[in-house]
Amino acid sequence: MMARLFFSQLWAVLWKDIRYELRSKQTWIGMGMFALLVLVIFNFTFDLHASTVTSIAPGALWVAFIFASLLGLGRTVAAEREQGMLDRLLLTPVDRKAIYLAKLLGNLLFIGVVEIIALPVFAILFNLPIWQGTTLLALIPIVLLGALGIAAVGTLFSVMAATTQAKELLLPILVFPLVVPVVISAVRATTLLLVPSVNEPPWVGLLIAFDVIFLSVSTLLFQYIVEE
């Protein structure tokens, strides 16, 4: 009974965010264009040859994803704060964990959609061999797991940074250092898909472990930063 209530609360908040975004479409389009432009800029900053592309491309992809994610995270929560919506949400008798998880799933959905769209474009622009066999099927879980790790920490800190004047500046400064383990394991897992190598730690397993740690700690701590 409690679990059903929790999930119905979670779904209500999540569905509100999805409808809001479907009507405005600002965040999705903005993030998508941003990720694409980062990839284009990378094309000019690194001289990409067929021999170097597989070692550079995973890094380029993840830099684009991380920057785009932070842009989106900053926007979704800032909109809530500006309209005073978060305060009203907190007045309702909804479990704080449900609010956090709904916000997290909303952010993950935005980031995930952008990434899934950006991935084929990225493969075409960089001439990456991800179409062969199961590479693409293996790449999508890695991309989503990486997005989950970034969104777990990012959602928590975007709520924190949204109360300050310098939120756009503060969010990356707080989040970038914390997501280093997720970034390392996601980039290594992506690279290994393109260029297999021996004697590597199980990066996908580590990525899942980091996600679980960040997710549980953030879920537990969220209630303290929204409490009044």
């Binding site: 928590l156 940074a161 280093v180 383990p181 701590l221 409490e227």
Partner: protein, 248 residues
């Protein structure tokens, strides 16, 4: 001060009177004793580092950086642990003094960690031939430094109040969990980087060990002395803000 003594806290009790009375009587004495001990041990430590301990056969004079680098690194990390522990306790028991201690730990800790990074670079250039390598320890220390800076920036942007204190506590806790994970993941990422290079403790002569121990004690005392000062500063700042709020 007279006005401060009349300020009630949230529960309407004159807590301020007790705190400021304690602060006036106890802290200057603690500060004086710590300051005196720091001056004595630090002078002894400087003499030992530059005259007592022998010159390293391989690294020469550069090796003496080690006696400053290790103690400052130790207190730089100790300070973040203090910050995180204060954060955990603060979330259960919202005591203002814990928050002052956490802020003091951040401000003093970042200074020591900055010195650690600079000294390490100065040592690395002649010994490793590079100012910086992306080793696990170096990377984790740099990330820790970023967390200190992020903490201080967030606190100054959020201003006084319990909201900022709770946000700071959350950063402290997540940071304390994250730094060991970063250390491990960089270690796996870099594979077998010569970590022993960083750790020239293997066959130190007894003089060097004693010098290092004295330096550790001296820098830890210096840290404690600075923590008392920074804590007092935080306390007085909070008091001044309360006074200003009561006037406005």
């Amino acid at each position: 001060m007279a006005l401060a003594n009349q300020l009630p806290d949230a529960k309407g009790q004159p807590v301020q009177r007790r705190q400021s009375a304690q602060g006036q009587s106890r802290w200057p004495l603690v500060s004086l004793i710590l300051g005196g001990l720091t001056a004595i041990t630090l002078s002894l430590s400087l003499w030992m580092i530059f005259f007592y301990t022998p010159v390293d056969a391989l690294q020469g004079v550069t090796q003496r950086i080690f006696y400053f680098h290790v103690p400052t690194a130790w207190v730089g990390m100790l300070s973040f642990i203090i910050l995180a522990v204060c954060g955990i306790i603060y979330l259960f028991k919202a005591d203002e003094r814990l928050d002052w201690l956490a802020r003091a730990a951040a401000e003093v800790g970042v200074v020591f960690l900055t010195i650690t990074l600079i000294l390490g670079s100065l040592w690395g250039k002649p010994i490793w031939g590079a100012w910086w390598v992306w080793d696990a320890r170096l990377t984790a220390t740099l990330i820790l430094w970023f967390m200190y800076v992020g903490y201080i920036m967030l606190r100054s942007y959020m201003g006084p109040g319990s909201e900022g204190a709770r946000a700071g506590a959350v950063i402290g806790i997540i940071g304390a969990i994250d730094v060991p994970i970063i250390y491990l993941s960089v270690n796996w990422w870099r594979g077998q980087h010569p970590a022993a290079q960083l750790n020239p403790k293997g066959d130190l002569p007894p003089q060097a060990v004693i010098t290092l121990l004295v330096a550790l004690v001296a820098i830890t005392l210096l840290y404690a002395f600075m923590m008392v000062q920074a804590y007092q500063l935080q306390r007085l700042q909070a008091l001044a803000q309360q006074l200003r709020a009561s006037v406005e």
